[in-house]
């Protein structure tokens, strides 16, 4: 099955990429944008979806500084 893992900087940890993009948007005329965060997307085919969480804990994310969200396509 196809799975997507979304990895984001944990809340409260400075995300300088998000800040830079948030500051750039108003300069292009996009007003009212806040809370911009930039993370990573990992797409993968897996036979056993139960492996996704240990994969995230061990390699795909650093749980100390990142949150992850697993989305499995049915």
């Amino acid at each position: 099955m196809r799975a997507r893992v979304l990895i984001r900087p944990k809340a409260g940890i400075l995300d300088p990429q998000g800040v830079a993009v948030e500051r750039a948007l108003p300069a292009l005329g996009f007003a009212g944008v806040s809370g911009v965060h930039i993370g990573r997307l990992v797409e993968l085919d897996v036979e056993d979806a139960s492996q996704l969480e240990p994969m995230c804990e061990k390699l795909l994310a650093n749980p100390l500084v990142e949150d992850y969200e697993i989305i499995v396509e049915r």
């Binding site: 900087p9 400075l14 300088p16 990429q17 830079a20 650093n62 100390l64 500084v65």
Partner: protein, 225 residues
Amino acid sequence: MKFGVLQFPGSCDEVDAFDAARLLGDAELIWHGERDLRGADAIIVPGGFSYGDYLRAGAIARFSPAMESVIAFAAEGGLVLGICNGFQVLCEAHLLPGALLPNANLHFTFRQVELEVVNRETPFTGACAAGERLSLPAKHAWGRYHAEEATLDEMERRGQVLLRYAPGENFNGSVRDIAGVCNEAGNVFGLMPHPEHAVEELVGGSADGLKIFDSMRLAIEGAHA
């Protein structure tokens, strides 16, 4: 004594680390695919961009066969020094607390930095004088040290913060100006600035980096005496 210097695909500072180690003892390069640490008394995990920094800096290198041996070596009390990318690898391997994040200014920055030696009663700082400052080059894009507040309090209480950026020198946004930390047992040390590039006045801006390697030599030779 003998230093073992790891070499990953994408390492770029292993030769300087090797040359610095050779000023004080024997040294050997150890390819990442090897498990044999060649009887080294101390291991250096060098700077660079191991495995292209894919995923996160240090994330892939941490699972190399050589690192598995280094994790076992550290568990037995062996001295391990991680410099820059090596520091990132040691954090990813959970040999050191915390993590390194992209610099707050998002820039790759190369500059000389002034550091305060916070704790000199360790195998990595024993050759430094009380209140001494070290001048070392730093060059990285992912050097912002981060750990949770409770972890930081505990680390400071145990003397695990060995180096701090001097006032005005914390260019990467590290929490509490932290430039180098050791593990709870005190035998694993990681720092972002580069002692191996500062072992000769002529090309390093200072020879202060030699004090880190010399501290390790003194600790090893003291242990053998």
